[in-house]
């Protein structure tokens, strides 16, 4: 009981100390307080993960608000394996960012404020992931939005930073309406907001409600609540159509971007995981989650392709990655989403911090960047043509993937394919990932045949191992209940036709990708090249304008403000 409290307490105390005494301390001491708090918390989080893994979930109440015999609100902590894993991720990222910021923000007038806010934010995320009920989670969800806003406005005399901070905050606010409405309905229909009680009550009392008078438009209560809460996750994890805030938050200092992309953005995925038993009761909600995730992946990844600013590229990459994570949840692969979240968190934090250092160096050295931009792929230095062996290896391995997938699914994971469409689709995404690695390797270096071929085979084994480990071990680590993880996959199963279409599209896309890469590399002209080029041009314009979604929102914004001025005049 003491360890989880201390994990939260260290960053909080560091934040409070910096806030109270920071202005009278030297910068180096301020940083020391922040870094020490983060390190202490991280060490305890490691111990906590070990302890929870071996001794089971810890759940306790610190304070209960009683009202007429009923306790609505319990302030406490729920530390299960999911929370313990998240705590370790958060504290590790916090340590990295605190340490990085010591030098990076040197000389900045907001040095003290930054470290205070960073410690506070760490505390808020830790409290969020250890909340034992929806109401407490929502309170910290709100505080997270506010703390993020203050960090994004770190440089508050910078108009763009302020504008984008406001935009982020407001979009989160839109999501929060849905979230709060979901909480409201959950209490109304199930009489509790405590997670375990809520899941039990929802499983026992499946019911429908009519949204319109006369029993018209009947919906399942669980679906209604699940969708409402999912709106909150959409906003926080930058999913379509509320994805517009994330790519515009690059005016904040690089450590803030790193923290945001590695930690805060994961809140949506965490929320879905926390409520996994609830979502598993509503397949249609999971399908909707999957749909939103896929849409976000496609939009985020395609918009990323046309960016020419390194931080914006990373921003759109995060949008796509978060879409992928949400999609995993929609497929019932909740544990894999957490695995993805952790991997992405570390990977993106390192990319951002690396980008920050690069930008810093570029500012110091007028000759940087050198002759080529980041988006130009390395050229083949001696103009050698690609080897047949490389191609054969890549193509062969990629095409073998479906076979390997089926083998893994059937013989190792023991998944009944006809019942667990989610699992199969997820395995197909493994194929997509492996193919992508092949494409990238080929594009980077396609001449040194044996090395590349070996790398490809190595990469395949690595990906296979990671997916297998994540799919099997990590899933059962996070959801150890018998049949629990399988139940989620089952709940996410699609109607057969939809399932077949998704598989077909995935297959066609991969084969088409190989075809295009191959013909381009060989310098061969394909009969649809002109047509493709014209589409590419149009797509470029659409993508560089971000599908015009930002512009539509801006127009709404201006219209509302104009109307508001008229109303204000008469008030």
């Amino acid at each position: 009981m003491i360890t989880p409290i201390l994990i939260l307490l260290f960053p909080l105390l560091a934040g409070v100390y910096i806030w109270l005494f920071g202005n009278h301390m030297a910068n180096v001491h301020v940083a020391k307080v922040g870094v020490t708090g983060a390190w202490a918390s991280a060490f305890l989080a490691v111990w906590n993960l070990y302890h929870i893994s071996s001794h089971g979930t810890v759940h306790f109440d610190l304070w209960t608000l009683d009202y007429e015999g009923a306790s609505l609100f319990k302030a406490g902590m729920l530390v299960d394996r999911l929370t313990a894993v998240m705590m370790m991720l958060i504290t590790s990222v916090s340590v990295v960012i605190n340490t990085y910021s010591v030098r990076y923000l040197e000389g900045d007038p907001g040095y003290t404020r930054f470290f205070g806010l960073l410690s506070f934010l760490t505390f808020v995320i830790l409290a969020l992931v250890s909340s034992p009920n929806l109401l407490m989670l929502f309170i910290f969800w709100q505080l997270l939005g506010l703390a993020l806003y203050l960090l994004l406005n770190f440089n508050y005399s910078h108009p763009d930073a302020c504008r984008n901070g406001f935009k982020s905050f407001f979009i989160h606010r839109i999501g929060d309406v849905g979230f709060l409405f979901g909480i409201f309905l959950a209490y109304k229909y199930f009489g509790t907001l405590e997670f375990s009680e809520l899941f039990q009550a929802a499983a026992d009392n499946a019911r429908t409600v009519s949204l319109l008078p006369g029993n018209a438009l009947e919906v399942n209560v669980i679906t209604l609540i699940g969708l409402s809460i999912f709106v909150g996750a959409i906003a926080k994890s930058s999913q379509f159509p509320l994805h517009v805030w994330l790519p515009d938050t690059m005016d904040s200092p690089t450590p803030v971007s790193a923290l945001m992309h590695a930690g805060i953005i994961n809140a949506g995925g965490f929320l879905l995981n926390r409520l996994a038993p609830f979502y598993a009761l509503s397949p249609s909600t999971l399908h909707f989650v999957f749909f939103i995730g896929v849409l976000t992946v496609l939009m985020g990844a395609s918009m990323m392709l046309v960016q020419n600013d390194i931080k914006k590229t990373l921003g759109f990459s995060t949008v796509a990655q978060m879409g992928y994570m949400i999609m995993e949840c929609g497929l019932g692969a909740f544990a894999l989403a957490i695995f993805h979240l952790i991997a992405h968190g570390f990977f993106k934090a390192s990319l951002f911090l690396g980008a920050g250092t690069g930008i810093h160096k570029s500012r110091e050295e007028p000759k940087n960047p050198h002759s080529h931009d980041h988006d130009h792929a390395p050229k083949h230095e001696n103009g050698e043509s690609s080897s047949q062996l490389t191609w054969a290896t890549g193509l062969g391995i990629t095409l073998m993937m479906p076979l390997i997938i089926l083998m893994v699914a059937h013989d190792i994971l023991d998944i009944h394919l006809q019942d667990a469409h989610g699992a199969v689709i997820f395995l197909f995404f493994m194929w997509v990932t492996a193919s992508q690695v092949m494409f990238s390797l080929y594009r980077l270096q396609a001449v040194d045949s044996w090395k590349v071929a070996c790398t490809m085979i190595g990469a395949l084994f690595f990906i296979g191992f990671v997916y297998l480990w994540a799919g099997e071990e990590f899933t059962h680590f996070l959801y150890p209940g018998p049949g629990e993880a399988d139940g989620y996959f089952m709940a996410a199963a699609f109607p057969p036709l939809v399932f077949d279409i998704i598989i077909l599209i995935s297959t066609i896309l991969i084969l088409f990708g190989w075809f295009v890469v191959y013909t381009n590399a060989k310098g061969q002209k394909v009969f649809i090249t002109d047509w493709l080029a014209s589409i590419r041009k149009h797509m470029y314009i659409i993508l560089i304008n971000r599908f015009y979604i930002d512009r539509i929102y801006a127009r709404w914004n201006n219209n509302i403000l104009r109307l508001a001025q008229k109303v204000a005049h008469r008030f």
């Binding site: 608000l65 005399s157 407001f170 949204l211 509302i560 109307l563 109303v567 204000a568 008030f571």
Partner: protein, 409 residues
């Protein structure tokens, strides 16, 4: 009981007489401030320890005293006139009389309060159709408050309802409230806000058990219109006082909207109402300090105050932070008493829309205001000076009061 009633009225008369004495005897502000703060403290102690009245009324009376205390303590002895102190104490006395007085005595104090408010507006407001409408509204309210003391139950209910929508303003009954907040001088505007809402909460508490479900249904629609209208008005408003008035009206609409969703109004409604009064009153008070220094009136004309005025920046961030969470207060407290029976009706959609307007509107207009005052480029032509410790303390007390009311009460 008789003794309790007498004690309550005596307590209300103390600040009232101090205010009147301030006007008649031309006491300096410095002396009046000392006297008033002492009196408020004594009345507060008596109210908590010796007066046995129902808890909501007691809570509202304490809230009013705290607001008066904060407004007075924040004023600089050398810069403020005795008129300010007198006016504050008279307002406090009349409000306490209205809240604590039973039956006819309470109504009599309410008439005096309305008369005093109307007199203030008549003096300050420029001649216009709006002023005429506002004064007619005041007249009507005075007549109804008297009739509620003497009329039948239905008259009492009707007049009580009219007074409730006047003091907890719903469109189109918001003109007196907006007029008071707009025209009151300096920090007095903040005090008027708190006392106005406190009386409104007391009135609603009085008539709430008698309100029929049907009438609440229609009131809910009025609340919905008010929520959207006031939120839009706050969004488009540039004048600081009017911005606060519109934001307050928008938040008050939540109370009316939730009336037929959550039972036990005294539990959640009064806590929320007082939290709204303290937070919005706190913003008003903080703005009055800026106005006193730089003659500032329009939001956006003096940005970047957080840099030269860090104390102001801190209180604004705290106030806006709390203001953004305000709609959660009734949800939080109301949930505890909400029956978990299965009822789906249009009320749900209605309250969702009200919530949407206030939540999103609040998120937008409070943040916009914060950006246009605390953040941004600092002007070089303004001799900035940060808030004094007493000013800072006064706002912090209001923030703590709002926190207590919204979360703990």
């Amino acid at each position: 009981m008789e003794n309790q009633n007498f004690l309550s009225i005596s307590l209300a008369l103390i600040p009232f007489f101090i205010g009147v004495a301030g006007v008649l005897a031309k006491i300096s502000f410095s002396n009046l401030k000392t006297l008033s703060l002492g009196a408020i403290s004594i009345v507060g102690v008596f109210l908590v320890i010796f007066v046995d009245i129902n808890p909501p009324t007691n809570f509202l009376a304490c809230a009013v005293l705290i607001a008066g205390f904060c407004v007075l303590i924040s004023q600089d002895r050398s810069q403020q006139t005795s008129e300010f102190g007198s006016s504050s104490m008279i307002t406090l006395g009349l409000t306490l009389g209205t809240l604590l007085g039973q039956g006819f005595v309470g109504r009599f104090f309410l008439c005096l309060f309305l008369g005093y408010a109307a007199f203030s507006i008549a003096q300050e407001m420029r001649r216009s159709f709006r002023k005429t409408l506002t004064l007619i509204h005041f007249l009507f309210a005075i007549v109804l408050s008297l009739s509620s003391a003497m009329g039948s139950d239905s008259v009492k209910l009707l007049s009580g309802f009219f007074l409730a929508v006047t003091f907890l303003p719903l469109v189109p009954f918001h003109l007196p409230f907006v007029g008071m907040v707009e025209n009151a001088k300096g920090a007095l505007s903040s005090l008027w806000m708190v006392v106005w809402l406190a009386i409104g909460l007391a009135e609603l508490n009085l008539i709430y058990p008698s309100l029929a479900t049907d009438s609440l249904f229609y009131v809910g629609f009025l609340a919905l219109i008010t929520a959207f209208y006031a939120a839009m008005a706050a969004l488009g408003q540039k004048k600081a006082n009017l911005f606060i008035a519109a934001a307050t009206v928008a938040h008050v609409s939540v109370i009316w909207g939730l009336l037929n969703i959550f039972p036990n109004f005294p539990k959640w409604g009064i806590a929320f109402g007082v939290a709204v009064a303290f937070i919005l009153g706190g913003i008003n008070l903080a703005f009055s300090f800026v106005r006193m220094r730089y003659g500032w009136q329009s939001i956006g004309k003096l940005p970047g105050l957080a840099t030269p005025m860090p104390r102001f920046g801190t209180v604004m961030v705290l106030l806006v932070g709390l203001a953004l969470f305000l709609p959660m207060v009734p949800t939080f407290t109301g949930l505890s008493g909400m029956p978990t029976i299965e009822t789906v009706d249009i009320n749900f959609i209605k309250i969702f829309l009200i919530f949407l307007a206030v939540w999103l509107g609040g998120g937008w207009f409070f943040m916009q205001m914060l950006h246009q005052t605390a953040f941004g480029e600092t002007r070089t032509d303004v001799p900035y000076s940060d808030l004094r410790l007493t000013e800072f303390t006064a706002v912090i007390i209001l923030i703590l009061g709002a926190g207590y009311s919204g979360i703990l009460y």
